[in-house]
């Protein structure tokens, strides 16, 4: 039995004028509505992310590889720089600094705390009470992380490449920028996935994963490294710059595959899409502790 009196609309009250006008439901389909939500998050986060602190961090992340490259270029200036081994070393240094170090660090900072930063600022609750709000927040913030990080890698590459005496500077620059974008997409999806799965210590786990799997395991010439992002990026770099395979390994295929580039790109994009899809599925069902009261 219901103990409450049912409500009745009383349109004669003096408060009628203080009522917000009704909102018409949009006639667009669900997909368009979800896209509107993601676009909204991207626009909002982009505006919000342009802060002195964020720009300073962005500049700092560009400055480190550029400074390192500049130092190396200064030390190896003169005839030595045209030797094939030095050229190879330059190419690998740029690869390690740009698509590897910068993008991984950037994604660690911007993709991993996608949900955690919302929980800390107590704004997650506003996303979860909107249909599709959780997924829009995840995807929108992921896009912003990719934009910030890949732009960081692109600017750093643009500044660093001219410092070195490279045989094909434009070609190298183009390859680095493409790899920075691909690396951001792949690492971003991976780190966002870890960040969504874990409410606590996501940063620690992501950092440990990066060191153990992408840095350590990714450089071990074994079958397992084929499942790392580093292997796919490295193979692409070999292809695009037509670098010679290392001759001190019995099986150099383990370090970089000669499979066509499009397969590596497809692996990276499909892997990222799969990770994002799982993260989106998870975030929709997750019950994060959104406030302290029990």
């Amino acid at each position: 039995m219901n103990p409450f009196p049912t409500s009745t609309a009383n349109l004669e009250t003096p408060y009628q004028s203080s009522v917000l006008a009704p909102l018409n439901q949009p006639s667009t389909g669900l997909l368009v509505q979800r896209c509107n939500a993601v676009v909204g998050v991207v626009a909002y986060e982009l505006r919000r992310s342009i802060t002195p602190w964020r720009i300073a961090l962005w500049g700092f992340m560009i400055a480190i590889p550029v400074a390192l490259t500049g130092t190396v270029a200064y030390q190896l200036r003169g005839s030595l720089s045209s030797e094939p081994n030095v050229q190879m070393a330059f190419a690998w240094m740029l690869y390690v600094l740009m698509p590897q170090a910068i993008t991984m660090l950037g994604m660690l900072l911007w993709a991993t705390p996608i949900v955690n930063s919302e929980l800390e600022s107590q704004s997650w609750i506003y996303s979860i009470v909107r249909p599709g709000g959780r997924q829009a927040m995840l995807l929108g913030k992921y896009v912003i992380a990719v934009l910030w990080t890949s732009s960081c890698g692109a600017v750093a590459s643009t500044l660093a490449v001219p410092m070195l005496t490279l045989a094909a500077p434009f070609h190298t620059w183009l390859a680095l920028i493409a790899l920075c974008v691909l690396s951001s997409i792949a690492h971003g999806a991976l780190f966002a996935f870890i960040g969504v799965m874990l409410q606590r210590r996501a940063m620690v786990l992501t950092f440990s994963y990066t060191i153990l799997v992408e840095v350590f395991l990714g450089w071990i010439p074994a079958v397992v490294n084929k499942f790392t992002v580093a292997f796919r990026l490295r193979s692409l770099y070999f292809h695009w710059l037509e670098l010679p395979m290392v001759d001190f390994l019995e099986n150099p295929e383990m370090l970089a595959s000669e499979t066509p580039s499009w397969i590596h790109i497809l692996c990276l994009l499909l892997g990222s899409a799969l990770l994002l899809a799982i993260a989106a599925w998870w975030v929709e069902r997750a019950q994060y502790r959104w406030q302290s009261e029990v």
Binding site: T28, S123, I128
Partner: protein, 341 residues
Amino acid sequence: MTTAPPSEHRTNLEILDSNAPLVELQHASLMYGTVLGVNDIHLDLPRGAYALVGPNGAGKSTLIGLITGALRPTLGHVKVFGTNPCNSRRVLRQIGLCPASDLLVHGVTPRQWLKLQLQLIGLSTKQAIARVDETLEFVGLADAQHRAINTFSLGMRQRCKLAQAISHDPELLILDEPFNGLDPIGRHQMTEMLIAWKNQGKSLLLASHVLHEVEQITQSFMLIFGGRLLASGTAGELRRLLADLPQDIILESPDRDRLASKLSGQPWVRALHRTVESNQLIITADRPLELYQCLAQWSNGDDPITIERLTGSDGDISTLFRLLVSKHRGERAYQLSGTTS
């Protein structure tokens, strides 16, 4: 201010099942690890305005989390407008939530934030901007729309939270401690707005730990404590319930001994205690209403008894909850804290 919707658009009312109850909870329980957040709540609410009253930590926010689909019940089922909010998020479009937690976004204006909240429900940028203007005007933040939210006073941030809760024109508005941090004028404005909301025929669920604040808005109460729904009904019914429960009533009177003598013969008096230092008499009465009637007679009779001070438990929400918990546990004997004998 209201306008007829264009024919190609649908209003919220049209896409809802008009026969579906507002909220249905079937033996819903929620565990936070080993801590019980909500304990076996069974509830069936038709559309209307309700106040969820309970002290801090009673489980109000957890219950709201279940209703909004933010939390999934460990046991039992939850439905809002006939739909499980965890399985079908579309129903969230009909819910507006103003949470208790403070709004801590930095470097963002209410305009930008509100636009995001509207886009999150699927509105295009153009539609969202148009609605933001209306909503900010409505909550009285139009003049401050270009200021960062983190520079706002608590009351302004509260209005900001309210704006996002009502901007998408939901059928059910849920407010968790909406009066927190508001000055008296702000409280009055909030109360008026909520009364207007209710009078539109829309549903309202108001969580508060202060009974009298919500009494002006609705007469339908649910009392929650320790994750359990202890009682529900109108304010009058709750008072009657309280009146039927044994209570401690403290009297201060120069005629204390004469009063004690008269009371000792009454069948509804369970115990009498006299304090040593003052003229206090603590009466444990099974039927407080009868005590009040007798006191009125004795103080107006031929040989009147002077009563200087009477302290009852009515209106004291903590006492009310303790009494209800005692009743819920089936306890006959109870003792209010802070009394002396």
